[in-house]
């Protein structure tokens, strides 16, 4: 089932790219579309961060991943590169698990 979802999602993502290059421009020039589309990644990424950090198996939890997120947040504020942010988050979780 993962394969089917991979292929369907990849095809749809490609179709979106191709649609932007192919469909008549006026379809996208509606101010509501221009306004809503950039808000989607903001809302979805924030929701992903919240659910990935504070849930486990469908339940709300609070564990070392919250500390990992906080450290990643500091790295972001310090304008660290992408990879440093990720390594900082992962290393925090790993070290805290080692310590406790």
């Amino acid at each position: 089932m993962i394969w089917a979802a991979v292929l369907v999602a990849a095809t749809a993502c490609y179709a979106l790219k191709l649609a932007g290059l192919s469909l008549p421009q006026r379809l996208f020039q509606d101010p509501r579309v221009q306004r809503t589309v950039p808000l989607l990644p903001v809302a979805l990424l924030a929701a992903l961060i919240a659910t990935q950090t504070f849930s486990s198996g469908g339940k709300l939890v609070f564990d070392v991943r919250a500390a990992a997120l906080a450290v990643a947040g500091v790295a972001v504020l310090l304008r660290a590169p992408f990879l440093v942010v990720i390594v900082a988050g992962a290393a925090t979780a790993a070290l805290l698990r080692l310590a406790f």
């Binding site: 490609y14 790219k17 290059l21 950039p38 989607l40 809302a43 849930s55 991943r65 992962a90």
Partner: protein
Amino acid sequence: MITSNAKRGIVRDALGIGVATGAYAVSFGAISVTAGLSIAQTCALSVLMFTGASQFAFVGVIAAAGSPWAGAATAVLLGTRNALYALRLTTLLKVSGPRRLLAAQLVIDETTAMAIARDEPAQSRFAFYATGAAVFSLWNLGTLAGALATHALPDPKVLGLDAAPSAAFLALLAPRLRAREPLAIALAAAVVALLCLPFVPPGVPLLIVAVLVVFYGVFSR
């Protein structure tokens, strides 16, 4: 026309972006295999989907025990912005026929940013393809390296790789929060997602958030 000097500068920038995203792809490969995808599925995502935030979301939802279809829906919703990027690029690239099929796959944050940063259409086009080629090769190479390395690990959780997706999403989100409205929307989305999390299957809170933000975008103001 485009001077060889300008070309050199563009290629240098493109390689720089390619190396940075390639390193980022190593973490994608690692996170994806940790989430339970096979090496082939991980690499297929990077070749066929080729849009970072969507790929991270897809494997992130699966890692959180969500259904692959919830992951797919979230990935596609995150991919909608590429349609608007492509729209902006249409007048710059002026592609048609089979070439448009190739160019479409390269429409992502990085190539769009590089193309619209140039004043000359010829330079824009060159920047688009140079960045696209660099990022596509190194993104896929990095994915494979990350997937292979993680596959060899006995327990990726020891390295804290289960905490890596949130950090990745934060790094992707931060540059989009420079105004008050997106910041408020991000906070509201996080709260709504957590509030409905105990009551619906994993992955579904994201879709609820997506529906709400579309309503907000369409009907506010």
